[in-house]
Each structure stands twice: as C-alpha cells, then as structure tokens.
Amino acid sequence: MSNDRAQSKLFPTTIWLVLVALTIATFSLGEAGLSGKGVMLTLLAITMIKSQLVANYFMALRKTKFLWRAIMFGYFIIVGGLIAMAYLMGLK
Amino acid sequence: MKYKSQAVAKLYFIAAIGLFLGQILFGLIMGLQYVVGDFLFPAIPFNVARMVHTNLLIVWLLFGFMGASYYLIPEESETELFSPKLAIITFWVFLAAGAITVLGYLLVPYASLAKWTGNDLLNTMGREFLEQPLPTKVGIVLVALSWLFNIVMTVLKGRKTAISLVLSLGMLGLAVFFLFSFYNPVNLVKDKFYWWWVVHLWVEGVWELILGAMLAFVLIKVTGVDREVVEKWLYVIITMTLVTGIIGTGHHYFWIGAPAYWQWWGSVFSALEPIPFLMMTIFAFNMVNKRRREHPNKAAVLWALGTSVMAFLGAGLWGFLHTLAPINYYTHGTQLTAAHGHLAFFGAYALVVLTMISYAMPVLRGRAANPERAQIMEMWSFWLMTISMFFIALFLTGAGVVQVWLQRLSPTPMSFMAVQDQISIFYWAREAAGVVFLIGLLLYIGSFFVKGDSHAFE
C-alpha cells in the first residue's frame, strides 16, 4: 500500500531527492539559455510535477478529500495554463 | 435591558436618526441642484450642501457606532459601563460640536470660518470629507478617545469576548487613522496619499471591524447560534477584509501622482475585496437558517440580512465594477464613483447602524420587540429605503456610463458641462428615487410611534 510506503522514513527523502533533481534540471535549462515553445512547456511540466509533489506529499494532501487535491491541481492548471497562453501570445 | 448603563445608547441612537434625516434633506437639495443649477443659490451653494450632506453622514454613523458599542459592550462584558456619565457628557459635547460645525458651514462663508477657527495655525480644512474646522477635528479626536477609553475600561473589568475585542480594535484604528487628517502638506500628491489613510483605511479597513462586530452581535442575539461559531467566522471575515483592504488602498493611487506599480498592487488586492463581503452574506444567511430560536423582532433579522446583501452589492460588486486600473482610467471621478459611494455607505454602514438600532431600541424601551404593526411599518421602510437606494445607484451608474462614453471614450469628447446636460434625465430619476428614500425614512421614524401590544421578554 502506498500509505505504508509513505509513512516509512525513506519516502519523504525520495520525494526530496526528486525535487532537487527537477530543480537542477530547471536550472540547467536556464543556464543553457534555451528558449522557445518546447522549452517553456517542459519547464512548466517540471513545475507542475514539483508543485504537486509538494502539495500531495509535503503538505500531505494525498490523504485528504479529493476536493483539496483538486484545488491545488486546478490552481496549477489554471495559473500554469494562463502562463503558457500568455507565452504563446508573446511569440507572435 | 440587562444593564442599566446600556440606556445611554438611546440618546446616541435618537441623535443618529435625527442627523440621518438632515443628511437626506441636504441630499435632496443637492440632487435638485444637479438639474436646477441655481436652486437655493446663493443661500446654499452646492459645495456647502455637499459638505453638510457628507459630514452629517459621518457624524450620524459615528453616533450610531458609539450608541451601538455602549449598548453591546456591557452585555458582552457582562458588567455595567465603566462610566455612563462620561458617555453622556461625550454625547452632548459631540452633538454640540456637530451642530455648531454644521451651522458654521451654513451661516458663515467657508473662508471666514477657516480664518476664525485657526486654520492659519494648521491647515487642515477644505479637503473632501475632512472639511471640519480645526477645533471640530480636535473635538472628534477627544470624543473618540473618551469613547475608546470608556469601552476599553468596561471590557477590561468584565468578560472579554471576540466581539468586544474586534470592536475595540476597530475603534482604536478609527481614532489612530483620523490623526492623518491633521497632516496636510503643500505637496498635493502627499496630501492625497495620506488623505486616503483616513478615508480608505476607515471605510475599507477599521470601520469594517466595527461593522463585523455589530453584525455578529445582532446575529448571536436573534438566531441563538453558538457564539463560538459566530466569533470564529467574524475573525475569518475581518482577516480577509484586512488582507484585501489594506493593500487595496492602492486603487486610489492610480492617477494622483503615486508610482505606476500601485496600478498592479491596487488592482489585484482590491479585486479580492468583494470576498469578505461575499463571505459575510453567506455567513449571515447561514446563521439565520440555522437559528435555534424564533426571535420576535423580525424586523431586526431583516435589517441584518439586508446589511449583508447590500454591503456585498454596494461595497463588493459596485466597487469591483471600476476598481481595475484599465477600467478605472476611464471611470475615475465620474458618477460611477458616486453610485458606488452611495450604495456602499448605505449598504454597509447605514444599514448596520439601523440593524443595531432596530434590535436594541425595543429593548431600551423595555420590550423584546416592537408591536407587530410597528414592525411591519419598519419593514416597509427597509424595503422603500433599500430599493430606492438601489435605484439611486442604478441611475447614477447609468449617468456614469454615459458620461464616460461621451466625455472620455468618444472620438470627439464633449466637455464636462455639455455632458451633464445630456445626462440630466438620470439625475431627475435619481432625485425621484431620493424622494422615495425620504418617504421610507419618514416611515421608519414613524414606526417608533406606533402603539400596540408589544412582545414582552421571554
């Protein structure tokens, strides 16, 4: 069961390592000076994963009602979606 | 009435209603001057009528707040008022100061009034809503301090509830932010910047604490819902008020010379300002739906619910309508602002004071609720005043929209006065709604004199 796994001491550490790795990935993309639609979407996807990891595992929302996880996910979808839309508008 | 000293509230409430009537009469004069420009000129020029109209509003609301707190604090604190005598002295001082000031406005040219009252020592007069002569301003500070002192001392010696705490904080803020009315630099931008620390931080900040506390008190009394629940939500609502309202001040800083970033800060946070009002509406209706008792004072329940709805419409919705900087660029300083001002002040503050009076006055007169016939009359007055004020706001909104179009958006903008001629039909309609409002108010006053079998205490 995922719940048992989550309660083990190692699990948060794994999440933390994933977050660190994703941060480094984001940073590297920035350092490489990459830009464009694909890069932007990749960065947003990474950000989505990171934010939801924090919400579900650090904030421990995975154990709560669907409503609360939906709010955190919906929040990112709306904000991230609008950011992507604005970015694409700026490409013209 | 549980505590003898609560009786002082009666004086304050009577004065509040009297001044309210005065405010409306001057409002009607101004409304007519909008369409018949030389009405009562030069006896009462528009600027004088307006000063009386707005100052009476502020003063009667303050009387209402004071009366309300002298009534509810002893009950909340479960002890007699610290000093009823001080409350009575304060009342007469404030009433005399208010009356002399209004007479000064009406009988003396404003420039002479300024000269005679020491405006040369410290320039504070002649700014919107802060037209009071220096001695009156000092008087307001002293009255507010005496009020605060009396209330805080009462709270300290008795039970400390969330309601009395929030009310005291609101009063403290009221007194503190009024001090900025003494700061009037020559630099017009700074003058306006800190002028809003009085005006905005009053009506969209600390006054809302007072409003929330008063509404919470009445709701506990008429619904019998558990105090814990009400107070919890009181805290949440006023938290949202401060979270949105303080930075929301920025919506006044768009076009007065302050840096451009206020357009963002002000827009974002003031766009959230309707949230606490919406919460208040939902909260009030929920409390009434979950009521554990049928309070005989049905009129008070109606006023309380009306407050929550009209506050949301006037302060929340009508404020939101023109708070975003790109919209406000065109609507700033038009009749739209007037529409919002009327509906918000009536919906939030006039109504909450009337709610409090409606609940407390029967008790002060020795009964739980007024006779049925009096209550029906009171409810009629509620609907007449509320609907006519709503129409005043609608007509002014119409006037504002046309004004924005003709004067600012049109490719061939018309001059201000030419536009005013074009929209006079809205002003006539507004004046008609104003007359209905006056009828509603007279009915309200009449309801106090209706006799019949009143409800005794349970």
């Binding site: - | 931008v189 010379g257 700033h332």
Partner: protein, 141 residues
C-alpha cells in the same frame, strides 16, 4: 473540511494577517515616498503655489470640482484645467462668477484679489504638471 477550526487560531491568523499586510503597506509607502520626487512636481512648489493651495482649500473648491479625479462630481475636473483653458481664461472665469444664467449651475463669487487669483492659477499649473500616469484620458478631464 478540517475537523480542527478553532477560534484561537482564527484570531491568530487575524492578528498575523493584519500586521503582515500593514507592514507590506508601510514598505510600499516607504518606496513611494522615495520615488515621489521624480513624479510629484514638488520642485515647482513656490510660495505662490502654497498660497494657491490654501485658497483652493479655504474656499472649498473640492465641494464641487474634482482635482485629479477626486472631489465632488458637480463641476469640471481642474487637475488639467490649466492646460485645457489656460491662465487668462481661468482668471476671467473666477472673476466673472456667478453667471446668473437661470437654471444653470452656479459658482459663487469668492471675492479674491488679483494676486490671490494669480496664486490659485499657479497652484493649478503646478497640479497640471504632476505625473498622473497619463490621466485624464483626454483634455476634457
């Protein structure tokens, strides 16, 4: 919905949130005061402007007019009247009141001296040169 929702925490959040946003407001105010000299035309505040502002106030002009959009909405915006009408028109206008045209809105006669009127004009000129982020949208105010 959380089962825990306590009054004491609601109170703490109220205090914390209130103080937090007031401090943020103070920080923004601090920055505003630093930036203001570049925008508020204060370098052009002369004794005439100061006296003009005082006359503006002690004759309660704000009771009918707006200034930078604030005030009463009974009479025209005066923040940009200097550019709209120019000094001579303003002086003649103030002296010529009231017009006495039946049914029209009337401006009182304030009995100002020529020197006073010059100061009022100086104040209006100063006000018209404040950086208002391009408000009003057009010259009509």
């Amino acid at each position: 919905m959380s089962a825990t929702f306590t009054k004491s925490m609601a109170r703490n959040v109220f205090y914390g949130g209130g103080v937090f946003f007031f401090l943020l407001f103070l920080a923004l105010t601090f920055d505003t005061m630093k930036v203001l000299p570049k925008r508020d035309n204060s370098q052009n505040i002369t004794p005439a402007v100061a006296h003009g502002k005082k006359l503006w106030e002690t004759n309660n002009c704000i009771g009918c007019h707006t200034l930078l959009g604030e005030g009463a909405y009974f009479a025209p915006e005066l923040g940009n009247v200097y550019t709209r009408r120019g000094p001579d028109f303003i002086k003649a206008w103030i002296k010529g009141q009231p017009t006495g045209v039946p049914g029209r809105r009337q401006m009182p006669q304030f009995n100002l001296s020529d020197a006073d009127i010059d100061d009022v004009v100086a104040f209006l000129k100063y006000a018209s040169e404040i950086n208002t982020n391009k408000w009003p949208p057009n010259i009509e105010g």
